[in-house]
């Protein structure tokens, strides 16, 4: 019992849970372990996966971002509308990424410079940006004119869809940034103790703005890929994304108290979220129940985080 607890709450606990769940699901759920379903699964987690990369930084530095879902929808919208009107996909993509980054910078400046609570700030921008998405499209989906835009999501490299590659690339890139750069180390230090980090010469305000800016930029990328996959800009796309992303991060061992994060954990967290959804679809479980399950996964994740923290600091207060 004691050692089981140790394994589950330890560094590799999540990987163990994941491996067990994967084997179990492969055996019991028909059509799960097929190439087709696996690729579908990966493709379905692209948005969550990409946004989780930067959400990890955000949480690791003790911040919080609820505006990611709206930003993904809005920048997807911008990508479609801008490329439709200019006739250039490239310009559309640039516009989308820029818009995403602007939302991020605004979040960052308000939170870090004006010291407004991150939860409140991003709750506000979440609604404002969603509003923009709806206003700009008059509440309707906007179709893509140039079919080349679809190809972004359809292109396959070595049989694997391009968005999955992008997600993999982001995992590698942000994993590297977290562990091997001063930026990553400073992010974790800010999460561990912001005041001590500041006195150690870390420019905390600038760092936090950068983290939010990156978050927005990455949401831009996710928005583009999503728009391409659903062949249109949808003002209501990616609702509730923030919750899935935060769940995935917390499941993956990113501490809500800051200072602790690992890319491998987040990847596993993302896959767990994806598998849960995928299995429910395969088993034809009604969409309504999926909310319940998603909520329960989030609760479980926070509970696990709590247990992990208290196991780590049990002795020292």
């Amino acid at each position: 019992m004691q050692s089981l607890k140790k394994i589950l709450l330890g560094e590799q606990g999540l990987v163990v849970i994941f491996a067990l769940a994967f084997v179990l699901v492969s055996i019991t759920v028909p059509n799960f372990l097929t190439e087709r379903n696996m690729l579908g699964l990966l493709q379905s987690v692209v948005t969550i996966g990409i946004v989780s990369c930067t959400m990890m930084f955000c949480l690791a530095s003790r911040d919080f971002d609820l505006s990611v879902g709206s930003t993904v929808a809005f920048s997807g919208m911008v990508a479609v509308m801008a490329s439709n009107s200019t006739g250039s996909i490239l310009l559309g993509l640039l516009a989308a990424i820029t818009c995403g980054a602007i939302v991020g910078v605004i979040n960052g400046v308000v939170i870090a410079r004006f010291r407004i609570n991150a939860l409140i700030t991003t709750l506000a921008t979440m609604q404002i940006v969603r509003g923009f998405a709806l206003i700009s499209s008059d509440g309707r989906a906007v179709g893509i004119n140039d079919p080349a835009f679809y190809d972004l999501a359809l292109t396959r490299i070595l049989g694997v869809p391009a968005p999955v590659w992008v997600m993999g690339l982001f995992f590698v890139l942000f994993g590297f940034v977290l562990n091997r750069t001063v930026f990553g180390k400073n992010t974790l230090a800010i999460g561990g103790n912001p005041e001590a980090a500041r006195l150690a010469g870390v420019n905390v305000v600038t760092m936090r703005i950068w983290i939010f800016a990156l978050q927005g930029l990455v949401c831009g990328v996710a928005g583009i890929l999503l728009a391409s996959r659903i062949t249109s800009g949808q003002p209501n796309a990616a609702t509730g994304l923030e919750l899935s992303v935060i769940s995935a991060c917390v499941l993956g061992g990113v501490s809500l108290a800051g200072g602790r994060a690992a890319m491998t954990g987040v990847i596993v967290g993302v896959l767990i979220m994806g598998i849960a959804e995928n299995v429910m679809n395969l088993l034809n479980i009604q969409a309504f129940y999926q909310y319940v399950v998603r909520g329960m996964i989030l609760l479980l994740a926070v509970l696990l985080d709590n247990l992990r923290v208290s196991a780590a600091t049990m002795s020292r207060r």
Binding site: G184, K185, A189, A200, G259
Partner: protein
């Protein structure tokens, strides 16, 4: 064996560390018992076992002959055991009175009895001789006042056993005196007091008996403290002789390195001026609240200044920016290690490298091998007790955490001015003398060093010059040749006519 409090073959291990191994000793009723040992020797661990916060791996604690089986802090309360930890445990957002009642609020039918809450606490505080407002928020109190509140809590509960873990490390001398008279009163009541401290003076003054721990084992037990000497205790703790803790070495002083002109800020309204030369160690002495820490924070840019200039080697340092100060070669090792120093949930290695790494991380890419080397160097040099450099800093003992923070600033290359606020708070005697030696080396290499300390012997022992602060102003200056304990103290007191202890 008629000892009131007994420890029998107590052992406790953490991953990678045997913090306590087979420790047995007893304390008589009404005795003040000292507990000493190097940083990481296991003192706080023993106290934590006594407090019910943690369970021993093996062994027993006996009170009045009966084995205690309590499993929580609450159980320990019931058994009459109160522990005041090294890191304070008050809830900052609650008032003094609420903190004192925490866990057993007076209530009638579930409704808080506010009047009783305040009145009883007020009476108790006055009783004990503590001058704080019961309805003040704890967050608004100084560290010293918070400590007194914790002690008041122990007194209120009529404890049979009180353990104090380094209680004076953040008290002013006046507050310490109040604490000592409190201890004397408790002792007269027959309370057993376990007293952990690194200060030999205090231990010899207060304690009747003493236990020395080393590497988690019992190194010595002295039922009668009047029969041994301080040097003997030091060598039992450290395992070698230390004849002169300060080991002061005179140095030549060069040009003026640091020039502070007209410095003032919100919490230090009256401007301050001073200079430090290369190779010089300047001490700031004063009572808690004299404005020394405020001055260092303004100097370093941790707080924003109202007026003033800080000049290093003829060049003004950009104001209000710690990174700019560090780049200009001005570093500050802050006073409050828990709030301003340690970076929780990160390793010893990262805590040491956080600032210095910018010097050897090309294009912002960290160099794990160099960081490991750096960490190992300071773990060795400062004798930081940790199972590995990867250990989360919160698992280190208090004194070892302090050494890590010190290491962080000593790791900075190119430091011209080193400001250390309470450099040896909670650090054991052996490590202290090594840290002093390190400071002399740094000064001899041309660094200007500013030391803030509330321990007069320390300031007098290691500095070349002392500036005394009182009420946010520099009141007097002493050259080493003219150091005089009474005069320095009298300059530090707000009203010099008030007689000294």
């Amino acid at each position: 064996m008629s000892d009131f409090l007994q420890f029998r073959a107590l052992s406790k291990g953490y991953p990678g560390v045997q913090a306590l191994a087979d420790v047995s000793f007893g304390v008589a009723r009404g005795a003040v018992h000292g507990l000493m040992g190097e940083n990481g020797a296991g003192k706080s661990t023993l106290i934590r076992l006594l407090s019910g916060d943690q369970r021993a791996d093996a062994g027993d604690i006996l009170i009045d002959g009966s084995v205690q089986t309590y499993a929580s802090v609450r159980d320990a309360f019931e058994a009459g055991v109160i522990v005041i930890h090294q890191e304070l445990q008050l809830v900052p957002e609650l008032t003094v009175a609420e903190n004192l009642w925490l866990g057993r609020f007076p209530a009638r039918a579930g409704v808080l009895d506010r009047k009783r809450l305040l009145s009883e606490v007020g009476a108790r505080l006055r009783d004990v001789g503590i001058d704080v407002n019961p309805s003040a928020k704890v967050a608004s109190l100084s560290i010293g006042e918070r400590q007194m509140v914790e002690i008041a809590k122990a007194v209120m509960l009529d404890a049979r056993v009180i353990a104090l873990d380094e209680p004076t490390s953040s008290l002013s001398s006046k507050e310490s005196e109040i604490l000592f008279s409190l201890i004397a009163r408790l002792k007269a009541r027959g309370t057993v007091i376990l007293y952990v401290s690194h200060r030999l003076d205090e231990v010899f003054r207060l304690c009747d008996s003493l236990t020395v721990l080393r590497d988690g084992k019992l190194a010595a037990h002295h039922p009668d403290l009047s029969r041994i000497t301080r040097d003997q205790v030091i060598s039992e703790m450290v395992g070698r002789e230390i004849t002169n803790i300060w080991g002061y070495r005179a140095r030549l002083h060069g040009e003026v390195r640091l020039k502070v002109e007209n410095l003032s800020g919100d919490r230090l309204p009256r401007p301050i001026d001073f200079e430090v030369r290369a190779g010089e160690i300047l001490g700031f002495f004063g009572l808690i609240g004299a404005g020394r820490s405020e001055m260092t924070r303004l100097l370093f840019g941790a707080d924003s200044r109202r007026t003033g200039r800080v000049v290093i080697d003829g060049r003004a340092v950009a104001p209000d920016s710690p990174p700019a100060s560090i780049r200009a070669g001005l570093v500050l090792c802050p006073e409050d290690r828990k709030h301003d120093g340690i970076i929780q949930s990160r390793s010893v290695e990262e805590n040491i490298a956080i600032s210095a790494r910018r010097l050897f991380s090309p294009f912002g890419l960290v160099q794990p091998r160099k960081e490991a080397e750096l960490a190992d160097r300071f773990i060795g040099q400062l004798r930081i007790r940790t199972p590995s450099r990867q250990q989360d800093i919160v698992h280190l003992s208090g004194g070892n955490q302090q050494k890590v923070i010190l290491g962080r600033w000593l790791a900075e290359a190119g430091v011209r001015v080193l400001v250390i606020d309470e450099p040896t708070r909670g650090i054991d005697v052996g490590a202290k003398s090594e840290i002093y030696a390190l400071l002399y080396d740094l000064a001899a290499a041309g660094m200007a060093i500013v030391v803030i300390s509330s321990e007069l012997p320390e300031v007098m022992g290691i500095t070349d010059r002392i500036q005394v602060m009182c009420g946010g102003q520099i009141t007097r200056q002493f050259e080493r040749a003219a150091y005089d304990e009474r005069e320095i103290l009298s300059a530090a007191f707000p009203d010099t006519r008030q007689s000294l202890p």
